[in-house]
Symmetry: D4
Subunit: 153 residues, 8 copies
């Protein structure tokens, strides 16, 4: 079992997860990462693809979201730490929901977003133990948390 | 103490809370409502107005959001049921965060939004016990939950 | 607030709830009773009557069952004691589900059924603190629990 | 330790457990399965066979059901996910009780049954994150949850 | 509602409960007391008197003890503080069980016994926040806890 | 029952509690305050004064601290919000312990101290939802939390 | 990690623990056993032997009992199942306390004692999932719980 | 996984952690130790070194303390036992906070300090299961807890 299990929630259209995982590997840290299904199309279609078609989009979405919830709830509950990334596009209410859920069950949270989003994310940031802007900062936090070492020292 | 305490989370720019409260009063239901501070300006400024100015917007927002969290966390924890309203404008990440938090601590949730928001809200809806479109529907649910009566019967 | 709050789960086609409530009133006990909606038709239709019709019975049932869950979950969680009645007809899986839920969240349980059902109900009975056959026995248990008095002494 | 531990509750007279386990093995998924004792006779007799005979069936059932509860409670609590299967015969109140218990302690639930049982199972279905009709669908859900892959893609 | 609710567990053959209640009343403290059924005969017979006779003493005791548990578990869970009295006679394992249960669910405990019992009660005492010898000391502790006043000052 | 119950932990040698209570009364807020015993001498002596003298200061302190814990633990658990005040003198480890305990059981915390103590209190401040310097600020926070009003608006 | 971890609480003057462990080994079951320190003298003296002598037996016992509690509390919390043995001698209040503690934190319990103790142990038995008389029966229960097999079948 | 995981909280300016770890290794005990970052400078600077400079010391401390909290909260929650050391210098409020947090989430605690600190630490000591003066005593307690052996026997 890794020393730390980190769930990476949120944006699925950029490579921030890969950047963090690569950085952590380069730093030699013993961390396991988990995440939601990041294949957008599968994530949307899983309910009807497995359990049968629906006429109404509402129920298609319900079936899919609940199957995804089996994965996300389980992995968030098993994690030691949740990183939530907000990108520049889309509503991303699922990311904010994950942050609220993680907070409700007592998981430490790191939020990652650009400064432009500071005001609308202020309630989410206020529940976090760190607010980062870049994957590199998240890697540095994880490195410090496990080893006590700081960059450049 | 009222029979039921309902926390009304989310949108603060339309009168949906008043509509629900009026409807509930007209129906003669014994329900107490709680909510975040809905005076937008005060909600934004409370941190610096009480605890002193900040140069950086990030810390102004932090101070304010944490004071607001004293109210929202306490009231959500004391409620029996949480209604979360998503409107047509703004990011509303705090509403999704509240939904996630309520779900994490085991509160029943009713979500209220127009059909246009069904897809981006699918993860939030999937955690709810009812998804309504109008305040009238919320009033009818509350009436049914307390009395067993249905509209028009 | 009453001395004890008792949730009466299960069968809705006989007058066992009234018998218990009448017996308790005659005994002068300070007990509040709660229950699911017992108007069968409303309980089945509440979802579509309030939130709109569905073509598929599956989703009609889902909408209704989740609205009913707002009531039942909340009242079971607020109760001190849950009485679960199994009658001679129907599947009554909701009654067994309620018993399991009550047990999972740590509520004391009294089960009530005729001896014919002993074998199929053995797992439910095994989670109960008393297995009664009649409403009168439930009234006597409640009376003893509150006052220490036994019938005929 | 497997990536996921799944408890298979309910019907013991068909081979649905074997079908799921075989399908999961064929799909190369790292899942551990647990279940109640499925030898019907032993499950009925374990109490008196070990702890001594009883004259009354009620106490024979009690002794047996409580020993079985040592196994079922422990395994449900240790699982990540509970699948509950309802067949076409018998009362199966223990399956509904397991579903309620799993829900009460916060485990994600998949229910599996044919469409004929939709209405009487509506409260149980409403607590589930997926309602499947076949073991193959359960295997596909488990595969998607672990790998993100969908059948035929 | 009283300022403090105190459950008085243990010995039922001396008047220690009355002494504490009288002392508290004389001191004008706003405390509600709860206790098990202290009519020994009723406590022993409640199971069979209500739910029907048993041939084996084992099952007579089981039926009775479980009905008593409805009362004791509920009242201990509702209390703010548990006082457990050990007398000079009998096994009193139910008193030690109550102490362990109260400790397991996080209730503050006061134990009351004479010095002769110090060694065999050392594990119970070690879980308590106070070990008193007399009802008067318990009254003084309760008075201090509510008012800050000490005897003779 | 008051709208909010606030536990005032920490320093007992200045009148900060009275200032907060007076300010809240003047503002017409419906808040109940609780606190440890603030009579220093009684707080030190309660153990031996009630339960008998000790030769070793260690056991005198143990007896007293545990009786005080009956009060403080109970009141912190019953509160909605904990205010922890650090003064300029003494070790005040009990105040920091209270803050940690309140955080561990999920209570919102306001810390109050002068800027000189910022660095040594940084871990305590980091667990708080507000860090105030004066009783007036605490009163203003409480007023805002209950009414949404800000000073001077 | 073993399939099951079983804590063996209670009597330390007979070889019942060895009998269970031997029986389990002979049956080829994958079970790990834990227990309190069973060297009576060390269990009594550990407090003063490590932390320094005490004049009063009360504090000697306190120091020892609390160090023993580090072991017993931790191991009971880590166990899947608690077996509590009551012998024919001594007060054994620590065994009853362990049973209450285990029950309070939700552990399944097996109690083991001779029929003579049925009446005084009725409250403890009523909280157990099995009441055995011999180590052989406990081994058979453990075997059945892990494998479904019954003796002689 | 080690038999026991022990978190070593508090003083970072003497070698007490090394003494305990060395003693445990010499005694051949299977114990894993965790601790906060003990490089004082890094612990103070981690926030601004990773997430950017701050003008105000208050926010520098906040950023750092919250990143440190990711480590300390996670490790305390994962530990079986928490040892809290108070030295002769500094405020050490974080040590007392850790003790309170550990107590709030139900971890057994050993406190270690010299007799001079007995009075100001009385509330912290009162929450502990052992109060030691030296690292050797802590090693002996850990040895006894795991093996039942006492020094010199």
């Amino acid at each position: 079992m890794a020393q730390l299990t980190v769930y990476l929630s949120g944006e699925i259209h950029t490579d921030w997860r890969e950047q963090i995982e690569t950085g952590v590997k380069q730093a030699g840290l013993d961390i396991a990462f988990t995440a939601p299904v990041t294949i957008h199309e599968n994530s949307d279609d899983c309910g009807v693809a497995i359990l049968g078609e629906e006429d109404k989009p509402f129920w298609k979405d319900r079936k899919g979201a609940q199957i995804n919830a089996i994965r996300t709830r389980t992995l968030i509950e098993k994690s030691d730490l949740v990183v939530v990334r907000f990108g520049d596009k889309y509503k991303q209410w699922n990311a904010a929901f994950d942050a609220g859920f993680a907070y409700g069950i007592g998981k430490p949270i790191i939020v990652m977003h650009t400064p432009e989003l500071t005001h609308p994310l202020k309630e989410v940031d206020a529940a976090a133990l760190a607010v980062a802007e870049t994957p590199q900062q998240v890697v540095q936090i994880l490195g410090y948390v496990l080893t006590g070492a700081l960059p450049g020292r």
